[in-house]
Symmetry: C2
Subunit: 243 residues, 2 copies
DNA sequence: GCCCCTGCTTAACTTTTGTTAGGAACAGCG
DNA sequence: CGCTGTTCCTAACAAAAGTTAAGCAGGGGC
């Protein structure tokens, strides 16, 4: 896999969401990287780990999650190709959550030292990365709203729309279908409900002809109804450099 | 109010949580600031606002919140003296949530331009601020776990302990008492439950002799029981520079 | 001192969600 | 091909939380 192919989703995302210059992106390709493959369900980083490198998702889906004392688990965010899910490690030495591969994944790792060097010589890259962690935080804030205030079926609708918007950025939506490789159990952990209840909601949405979820693929059946349920306002994704 | 008095809580916090040098802190005092007072319940920044300055809380409590279409509101985080609750504005031009004064507040505003200049001349200050936004994000992530997985009384206990830990950083806890100036309605908005249910939980905790909340002051009656309920693991606060 | 407003408190009732417990479908593997 | 383990699906029942509707308490303004 070439560096260009690995970095493609990141570049595509940065090109539309930031005003990174051509030379900034080029500088990124010169970073030394280590490619690693992960299997479905494999833990990439564990709560408490101390990291000396950051990872970029070249392919596959990952989640951040936290497990509390009684064994319950909460998924904190879903990460797609082009995401840098542990960029915070640059300034927070210890992980405060797990990073897990949802599907088989291709990740590349970049040493913190190399990133720091690049930022020192090119402060704009630092600004782009800082902004990236801030958008990430904005997504996490909206996640709180979802889990805290919306009814379960609205939550699911909102998550589906968010994921579609973010996948669209890197050209991973075809028609009304896209990948969302979470089991109903994991979906429940993301939404803060049990797997039984997730199943109930999915059935309801299927029967009402809103969306269908099969073998990790979402198919949107009725866009209008979906929008109505999701009440999605994508400003928090900060998709344009000026937002 | 002198610059020193205004910056004191920020300095105290940075001194224990980062390895900011004396000269870095000194450099902060030289930033031009504008002092503004806000009344209880006054909105400081509105969802959608475009900012050209950041604020530092010198005194009082603020919250970030989001209101969804049906009028429900979710509180996303609580901010204390020494916090920079809209530092993200440095790289995200538009607010994606509200910032509201919970109590009467004293804030100072610092122009983005001045901060950017300082960061350019002192990259360490940039690192400290970046880290600050990352810790903020970590707190928000834990908030998801709270709202998503814990039962309502555990949520409240967790919030109380978190707040105490953070207030302790700037010496705002005396014995087993500290300020938490949220109405039961607001507490519900923070925990993702209704005000009626908040009242139920508070009554239960009062009867069981765990905590008492009166006129915006928390009084911890039984530390052991509180810990048991909160299952608090403070690593996510990243209180030491090496964590 | 009284009024008014906000916040607190409670109860009765409804709805949502969790729990427990199965069985069915399906994929991977020997 | 049949075994095994996971995921999906469903139902019956229990618990948690929301809704609605009151009355009460206390502080600020007149």
């Amino acid at each position: 896999m070439t560096v260009e192919a690995i970095m493609a989703p990141l570049f595509r995302r940065l090109q539309t969401t930031t005003d990174a210059g051509r030379d900034d992106l080029l500088a990124l390709t010169s970073l030394p990287t280590t490619l690693r493959q992960y299997r479905e369900n494999q833990t990439i980083l564990r709560d408490g780990d101390r990291t000396s490198e950051c990872c970029l998702i070249a392919d596959g889906f990952c989640v951040r999650s936290k497990t509390i004392a009684d064994g319950r688990r909460q998924i904190l965010s879903i990460h797609l190709p082009g995401d840098l899910p542990d960029l915070q490690g640059l300034h927070l030495p210890a992980m405060d959550h797990d990073l897990v591969a949802l599907s088989d994944c291709t990740l590349v790792f970049i040493a913190h030292a190399a990133i720091r060097d690049l930022i020192r010589s090119r402060p704009t890259v630092g600004d782009i990365f800082w902004r990236d962690t801030l958008v990430d935080a904005a997504v996490v804030r909206e996640w709180i709203v979802n889990v805290g205030q919306r009814a379960a079926h609205n939550r699911l609708a909102h998550l589906i729309v968010e994921l579609r918007e973010r996948l669209h950025l890197t050209g991973r939506v075809t028609g009304n279908t896209f990948a969302m490789p979470l089991t109903q159990e994991q979906l429940g952990e993301a939404l803060g409900v049990t797997s039984v209840h997730t199943n109930r909601i999915l059935r309801q949405l299927r029967i009402e002809g809103v969306v269908e979820l099969q073998r990790g693929m979402v198919r949107i059946l009725n866009e209008t109804k979906l929008q109505e349920l999701a009440q999605f306002d994508g400003r928090y994704l900060h998709l344009s450099p000026s937002s």
